[in-house]
């Protein structure tokens, strides 16, 4: 049952990853945050369905409570692997300024790139434009007559910021 719970957790993430790789290829930046949220929420339900199927097929002799616990732990594993993937792999690939700079330098090969050439391809304005599209698409900010204001105050970044703020307070610097 132990291996089954961990296995269901990882298989569910595998299904999420395949769906993500197929569907996100054509996704515009403005639809990225919203689609990612929907995708993660939908896939978190998958471990419950998978353990339900295994339970109905009597794959293993175990009491009902064990199955319930296994499905909840599988759900936790899927959620955590998805979070690790989004925060540590997909997020940095899609949004990290450093990663973009590494790729811009790499494009020029061994002779490297000057700051002027780099800024022609990737500037503060590019950074702003991409983020404004993304944040408007997710509803975090609203554009009206060329002016931008806050949309939803309880956005994903706000939630992350609260936790990061708590850790910063505890560290004390």
């Amino acid at each position: 049952m132990d291996l089954l719970a961990a296995g269901v957790g990882f298989v569910s993430f595998g299904i999420f990853f395949i769906i993500h790789v197929i569907t996100f290829r054509w996704l515009q930046p403005e639809k990225l945050l919203r689609s990612l949220r929907v995708c993660v929420l939908a896939v978190v339900a998958l471990p419950l369905v998978l353990t339900g199927i295994l339970f109905v097929n009597k794959v293993m002799d175990a009491p009902l409570l064990a199955w319930v616990l296994a499905s909840l732990l599988a759900l936790l594993i899927t959620g955590l692997v998805s979070l690790v993937y989004v925060l540590c792999v997909f997020g940095p690939y899609e949004t990290s300024v450093r990663m973009r700079l590494v790729r811009e330098i790499e494009r020029r090969g061994p002779e490297g790139i000057s700051l002027q050439d780099l800024l022609r391809r990737y500037s503060s304005e590019t950074i702003m434009n991409v983020r404004l599209r993304r944040l408007i698409g997710s509803g975090d900010i609203i554009e009206e007559n060329g002016l931008y204001r806050s949309g939803s105050k309880k956005n994903f970044l706000f939630f992350i910021d609260i936790i990061a703020g708590m850790i910063k307070k505890w560290i004390g610097r």
Partner: protein, 199 residues
């Protein structure tokens, strides 16, 4: 005859296991609580370390080291529980969730590290949201001024040079071998994901 007896014995064994399990279902979660407790302890030790250390910058390696020690404690604890029959493993056929709890402990590490890294970094999206949150209605020019004030490109280029991923020679930025490896990994990711360059 022997086969029939074996089957009966096996069925009896399973029914006994389920019976004992039902009498003490809390045992099933003991390993999960143990792993969560150790994760909280590892975070507390890391926070204590960060408060005391005089070394500047992110202390991510220190957390990895602390987490590895606590992982060792978890493995030792699970082994001791099995050896000392502390949790009566025979009552939990297939349970208790030793591996699952270990996996949860391992996965919580990078999640904590990401939140910890955010305490030291300012992202452009966060800067935009904070500026709009504080300043109310802002135009594109206002937002661009806030972004330029933070100098995201300059600070990141300096970080890349300090960390050894790139070097700055004769007014040009050139990737070092470690930076090349990151660039190769990003190219592979681009092929898999089929998306444009991020940033």
């Amino acid at each position: 005859m022997i086969l029939c007896n074996r089957k009966k014995l096996h069925a009896l064994q399973i029914s006994l296991e389920i019976k004992v399990y039902n009498q003490d279902p809390n045992n099933a979660m003991a390993y999960v609580f143990f792993a969560l407790l150790l994760f909280c302890a590892s975070v507390m030790v890391h926070i204590f370390f960060c408060r005391k250390t005089t070394r500047p910058g992110l202390q991510a390696r220190a957390y990895i080291f602390i987490a590895m020690i606590f992982m060792g404690v978890y493995i030792a604890g699970v082994y001791a529980a099995g050896q000392g029959m502390l949790l009566d493993p025979h009552s939990l056929w297939g349970l208790p969730f030793k591996i699952t709890s270990g996996v949860i402990f391992i996965l919580l590490g990078p999640v904590y590290l990401m939140f910890y890294a955010l305490t030291q970094l300012m992202s452009p999206s966060k800067k935009i949201l904070m500026s709009i949150g504080r300043g109310g209605n802002l135009s594109r020019a206002d937002i661009l001024a806030r972004i330029e004030e933070e100098d995201f490109i300059g600070t990141r280029l300096r970080d890349l040079c300090v960390s050894g991923c790139a070097r700055h020679t004769k007014d040009r930025y050139i990737l070092n071998p470690s930076g090349q490896k990151i660039a190769t990994a990003l190219t592979i990711m681009q092929r898999v994901l089929g998306r444009d360059m991020g940033g």
